[in-house]
């Protein structure tokens, strides 16, 4: 850099134009990146916009006029809020179970030595590498062969959701745990903390951000899932299934209200988490 300066000053002061070109050269990646982000946000803008849509016809998916009706009458469409309730229930239960079991597995994988680790790793990895439609049909094949096809519904959906959330929890918590210096736990033990105290006072608080991230991921995976759910739902209707059904008949604008609310809640959670982390670090 410094060697270039004399030659630059020797010729002529740089024009504003060339400085702009140079800046552009340095930041072209950033610009492209921001454009891609814009692309990713476009559908969100549409969803938010559509939540205020006053559709002219049942089947029209174009912006026909502004209204607040969708927001004041969220549960207007028949069955939508019922489906939403089912999705939230399944999401919460699946998140709780998957986060608990997955966290235990992550601790086993990172902190313990046992035979069959490699096999365990594969079994944990495979569900993430299997297309949903294959996983869904496998489970359906199991339920059908097991003679429980009549019982398809809430519980089979829950079983499926816990299954596919588990791997993601293990991977997320494992990453956090692997970055945790085991000497911290050893230091705690050295300072008279027994196994239980070591876990609750050292390991858990330090891994907690990972566990929280895993739980958020689980909930969003579960809440969003359609393909596996659809195969194993029986007569139960979750929110994505409701949307799917509605897409064939004509989409009620309230669906976009739910999408917007989900987006805002998630955003609020992330911002709150960040503020909390910052405040902690700054103290």
């Amino acid at each position: 850099m410094s060697t270039a300066t004399p030659s630059a000053t020797a010729t002529a002061p740089r024009s504003a134009g060339s400085r702009f070109t140079r800046w552009l050269g340095d930041n072209v990646v950033l610009l492209v990146g921001l454009l891609v982000l814009l692309y990713m946000f476009t559908p969100v803008f549409v969803v938010i916009l559509m939540s205020f849509n006053d559709p002219a016809a049942r089947n029209s998916y174009s912006f026909d006029g502004f209204t607040l009706d969708n927001w004041t009458n969220i549960c207007g469409p028949l069955g939508m809020c019922e489906a939403l309730r089912v999705s939230i229930e399944i999401g919460v239960l699946a998140t709780l179970v998957a986060t608990l079991l997955g966290t235990l597995m992550a601790f086993a994988m990172v902190r313990h030595r046992f035979r069959g680790r490699a096999a365990a790793n594969i079994v944990i990895f495979l569900p993430m590498a299997t297309p949903e439609v294959v996983m869904g049909s496998s489970l359906l094949a199991l339920f059908v062969n097991g003679g429980v096809s009549g019982l398809l519904g809430f519980w089979t959906i829950l079983i499926a959701h816990i299954m596919f959330c588990l791997s993601f929890v293990v991977v997320t918590v494992k990453a956090r745990l692997a970055g945790l210096d085991p000497r911290l736990e050893q230091a705690a033990m050295d300072l008279y903390a027994n196994e239980w105290q070591t876990f609750w006072r050292i390991s858990f608080p330090l891994v907690f951000p990972g566990i929280l991230a895993a739980a958020l991921l689980s909930f969003s995976l579960s809440f969003d899932d359609f393909i596996i759910t659809n195969l194993n739902a029986g007569q139960e209707v979750t929110f994505p299934m409701f949307v799917w059904g509605a897409a064939q008949r004509g989409i009620p604008a309230q669906i976009n209200v739910v999408g917007t609310i989900m987006f805002l809640i998630a955003l609020a959670a992330v911002v709150a988490g960040d503020v909390l982390a910052r405040r902690r670090a700054g103290r």
């Binding site: 210096d181 911290l184 705690a188 033990m189 050295d190 008279y192 903390a193 670090a281 103290r283």
Partner: protein, 390 residues
């Protein structure tokens, strides 16, 4: 080896034998690899004991076994007369200052220091924590987090966090390794000072020979899972018992020779046809073939044929040629090629008393017979030579 080792380090003057740290036949194997070989060791209560050795010599494993973080394959660890070798780490009256400190990042400095007391059920810890932070001069940082502290400050927190529990033995695992040289020297003095002040037993693991010699009362040099030699720092330096110790602790010139006559207080040696003498007490072997050793700073150089200065008179190796000179401030280091091809190092203090030599000068090497030692010729003359240093 192992049973004989403590001989040099038996200043068990006090009657504190009851709280000594005693290792008996301590062994740790990982599969077919044995990291620590049947170690026998007594660390007297109140002493500053250093385990010195290159990385992978088993010193850290030994320390971790004492802390309870590693389970011995066999053997015993006795502390204050009772066997603690199978106790969980949190049941042992031992605390560790970890390499890279292992401070709890989510707790404040004060909370870190209070951790051990609280786990042992103490409710009111504030006064003790304040006093301890005072001792390590960190009182005004009590509310900070570890990440906000410098390396030296973190090191002192780690020390305070361990010391506050008044352990019977404090274990230090390369505690100064992460600090830069200047800070390390300063912390060495501080550590030594604190140890004298609190009077606890310190067991200090390090690969830095200077650190070990500066701080410890007793140094045990470890190599390949065994203790090579143990004793007071000066003793080890002046009377190395093995080539490993001779090379790992400072530098040594080792020249092949043989004992030709050894009846009395001194023995006569033959080195490349030259006759040298050494005190009988400094023979570390009974075999006739030996490595004849002398430290580089004990040698004086004169131009070929000139008489020796009186202090260094006695042993003379003639016919050297200076091949390299490096000036290092307090001393000048010469490399001298001998007629049989071996290169020897000579360090001369820059006192102004020496004649300036240049590369190519023909020189003689003189040193006192008292500074000559003899080691077993079957040992590797280059064992313990640190390639990256010097």
């Amino acid at each position: 080896m192992s049973a004989a080792a403590p001989a040099g380090a038996a200043p068990t003057e006090g009657t504190s034998a009851g709280t000594d740290l005693v290792l008996r036949g301590l062994r740790k194997s990982y599969g077919s690899f044995t990291a620590v070989h049947d170690l026998d060791l007594v660390v007297p209560s109140g002493s500053f004991f250093a385990l010195l050795g290159p990385s992978g010599c088993g010193k850290t494993t030994t320390l971790r076994m004492v802390a309870g973080l590693e389970e011995p394959t066999s053997g015993q660890i006795m502390l204050g007369g009772s066997d603690v070798s199978r106790l969980k780490p949190y049941k042992r009256p031992v605390n560790t200052v970890f390499q890279s400190y292992a401070l709890f990042p989510h707790l404040s400095i004060a909370e870190n220091v209070a951790f051990g007391l609280k786990r042992r059920g103490k409710k009111k810890v504030d006064a003790e924590v304040a006093a301890m932070l005072e001792l390590v001069e960190l009182s005004d940082l009590a509310k900070r987090r570890p990440a906000q502290l410098s390396g030296g400050q973190q090191q002192r927190v780690a020390l305070a966090r361990a010391l506050i529990n008044r352990p019977q033995v404090l274990l230090l695992d390369e505690p100064l390794g992460a600090l830069d040289l200047k800070l390390r020297r300063q912390m060495q003095l501080e550590l030594k000072h604190i140890q004298t002040e609190v009077g606890l037993t310190f067991v200090h693991v390090t690969h830095d020979q200077e650190e070990a010699m500066t701080m410890a009362d007793t140094v045990a040099v470890m190599n390949k899972g065994r203790i090579e030699q143990m004793g007071a720092p000066e003793d080890l330096y002046e009377n190395p018992a093995t080539t490993f110790v001779a090379n790992f602790l400072g530098q040594s010139n080792l020249v092949a020779g043989s004992v030709v006559e050894g009846g009395g207080e001194t023995v006569a040696l033959d080195v490349q046809g030259t006759r040298l003498t050494a005190p009988r007490a400094r023979l570390a072997t009974d075999a006739p073939q030996v490595w004849v050793g002398v430290r580089p700073e004990k040698i004086t150089l004169t131009r070929a044929g000139s008489p020796a200065p009186s202090a260094a008179a006695g042993n003379l190796l003639a016919g050297g040629v200076v091949t390299d000179i490096s000036f290092v401030g307090v001393s000048t280091q010469y490399v001298v090629r001998m007629p049989w091809g071996q290169e020897l190092s000579v360090f001369l203090q820059n006192t102004g008393a020496h004649e300036r030599l240049v590369v190519g000068d023909a020189v003689d090497l003189h040193w006192s017979p008292d500074h000559t030692f003899c080691l077993d010729a079957s040992q590797d003359a280059r064992a313990g030579v640190e390639e990256d240093e010097s």
